[in-house]
């Protein structure tokens, strides 16, 4: 229904999209990921439009992921880490709540530097996931969705999550 409406109305989002894509490919900037509507839309002058495909795995090394992209993939990585370490967190939570003696055992465990490093890593994952998640929620509300603002907010995500992790690290290793 919506596509039919768009095609018959005087202002068509699809044609708008094509014009934008044409403009970007003329300026030499190439987007990865293809729009299926572009396949048969060669320009009227007969020159074939270059095919745009997803990047292959061996092209990853040379592809410079922009900062918002790094925030995004790390959101995924940190989410997976939190999922995988959920049993460890629940076990520690259990130790902290069951009894006075298990609480003391947890306090003893946290003297071990391996435990400290693991917990710091999980703290980073939680902080990054939280900060990046708030940013995505704001983007969903169309707040800061333009390129400059999105770059700025991704810098802010790293600034907040990494500095809070650093503060935690200094606290855990007794420098604070």
């Amino acid at each position: 229904m919506r596509i039919a409406d768009a095609a018959t109305s005087s202002f068509s989002p699809l044609s708008e999209l094509r014009q934008n894509s044409a403009a970007t490919s003329q300026s030499g900037h190439r987007a990865f990921g293809s729009d299926p509507t572009m396949k048969n839309s060669n320009p009227p002058d007969g020159t074939a439009r270059s095919q745009i495909r997803n990047i292959r795995i061996d092209q990853l090394r040379n592809y410079r992921l922009p900062l918002p992209g790094i925030v995004s993939i790390l959101h995924r990585v940190s989410g997976m880490l939190l999922f995988l370490f959920l049993p460890l967190v629940l076990w520690l939570f259990d130790l902290s709540l069951s009894s006075e003696s298990s609480f003391d055992r947890l306090a003893q465990l946290s003297q071990n530097w391996v435990t400290r490093v693991v917990l710091l890593g999980l703290s980073w994952a939680l902080l990054h996931h939280l900060c990046a998640g708030v940013r995505f929620l704001l983007l969903d509300l169309h707040l800061g969705a333009d390129r400059v603002a999105a770059l700025r907010s991704s810098v802010a995500v790293f600034a907040v999550s990494l500095s809070l992790t650093l503060v935690l690290a200094l606290y855990v290793f007794g420098a604070l």
């Binding site: 989410g79 259990d94 709540l97 069951s98 006075e100 609480f103 939280l130 708030v134 929620l137």
Partner: protein
């Protein structure tokens, strides 16, 4: 969901619902994190009594169970999306989906047990 002659024939339409649920559960989790942080900040010196005291009142237990439910649903949607993006063989994907659901349900029941042991 409409069946019979009113049934919508195109698309399962669970995409938007899951997208929305993931965001709603995210807000619940943010609120819960700040609730616990407030509890820690108000309790002063954090010994066992103070820490257990945060989770001891029944309303806090119920809120905690709500947060764990939100966490499990949130994690399910996120992890399922990761499997769907990277694991293409149907058998592997089904096994990972089932494993994820069982594991999250296990963690859910476990955390309810932990919360009610206080």
């Amino acid at each position: 969901m409409a069946f019979g002659s009113r049934r919508v024939l195109v698309g399962a339409h669970y995409g938007l619902r899951d997208w929305l649920i993931q965001r709603v559960t995210a807000l619940v989790l943010i609120a819960f994190v700040f609730l616990v942080l407030c509890g820690v900040a108000l309790s002063g010196h954090l010994d066992y009594g103070a820490w257990a005291g945060i989770f001891a009142p029944v309303p806090m237990k119920l809120v905690s169970v709500l947060a764990v439910l939100a966490l499990c649903y949130h994690a399910w949607i996120g992890v399922r999306d990761i499997w769907m993006d990277y694991v293409k063989p149907a058998g592997w994907r089904l096994a990972l989906h089932v494993g994820t659901i069982l594991w999250l349900l296990y963690c859910l029941v476990w955390s309810i047990e932990i919360l009610w042991s206080v």
